[in-house]
Symmetry: C2
Subunit: 193 residues, 2 copies
């Protein structure tokens, strides 16, 4: 018998950091499932990279991993194909109301998005401002500008301000189906070239 | 201190099944690294999907996974972009000398390759016949024909014969750099459409 941890009635201010970001991710997963079922696009979330250290074999053909660690991802979480074009993006959430911190993004992810962009793929971020309840599709080119400039003593910033999202990103409507129709934005605004 | 298993001097016929497939995978990883460094293509192996059951926190900010299991992959292992085209494939090894068993392939992977193919992506398998020391790029269309026909009482087979590889697949030369230059074959034979 497996004994699951018992849920305690804790104070409301307890935040489960393990689930931070799960909602956006699952909203995108539901959207991608819809795209796949409707034959619109084939876009999947990559599995979380895990470094396996020890494996035991309690039963034949059943490997049980007994020691492993999360690894820093070397690419983004989502990629696939839409109308013949390669699509690549990551999903980020912030509780801030006026900017998205650049530390939410790993340097490897920026390098990856740059390589994708250079190869003719469509690269972007989906950013959820949780407290504002708004979702933006931020073209990678805007991210690159803030990223490359972040150490500039004059104009460098550690975050992308909300005003940049309002000017240069595209709001993604949240609806029943598809949940977060980011590909309609990709099609309208990013697939001209 | 970590105590690693001690290597014993065992008879030569001992086969380490845990490493089966690791060589092909690492040869493809080395090739992809070359493609990335040279700006030729952005193709990565997806992480192995793992179902995490328990996590402990022996130290702050250091999550240790203490119980987890390997999951059946829902897509293929490799995807990315090459000259603006979406590329998607899986790598398979066989020790057989006359055919590749279809049971090496998960039904989900075939469904995924079909969806990719339909969306205009370039889908294939890289198959290593270990005893023949040959590598083939098998276009997904050939796989689909054998797969869809596998239960046919007359002509159905549980494997793709080597003769089909010789007729309808493309041998991939093994060299120093790039190790397995499968994209030259993709470019010459699969990118006409």
């Amino acid at each position: 018998m497996i004994s699951y941890p018992i849920k305690k009635n804790t104070a409301q201010k307890t935040v489960n950091y393990a689930n931070l970001g799960m909602t956006l991710e699952s909203d995108i997963d539901v959207t991608n499932r819809y795209y796949l079922d409707e034959g619109i696009a084939v876009i999947h979330k990559k599995p979380t990279p895990i470094q396996v250290v020890s494996v035991s074999y309690p039963a034949r053909n059943k490997a049980k991993i007994t020691e492993a660690y999360y690894k820093v991802p070397s690419t983004t979480d989502f990629n696939g194909i839409f109308e013949g074009r390669y699509i690549d993006f990551d999903a980020k959430e912030t509780t801030l109301q006026t900017s998205m911190p650049l530390k939410n993004i790993h340097p490897h992810q920026v390098d990856h998005l740059k390589a994708v962009n250079k190869s003719g793929g469509i690269a972007f971020l989906i950013v959820h401002f949780k407290k504002l309840q708004t979702y933006y599709l931020l073209p990678a080119s805007v991210l690159f500008r803030y990223w490359d400039n972040r150490h500039d003593p004059e104009s460098g910033r550690k975050s992308i301000p909300l005003s940049a999202f309002q000017k240069e990103a595209y709001p993604i409507p949240f609806s029943f189906q598809p949940r977060l129709d980011y590909l309609s934005i990709v099609k309208t605004y990013l697939m001209s070239k």
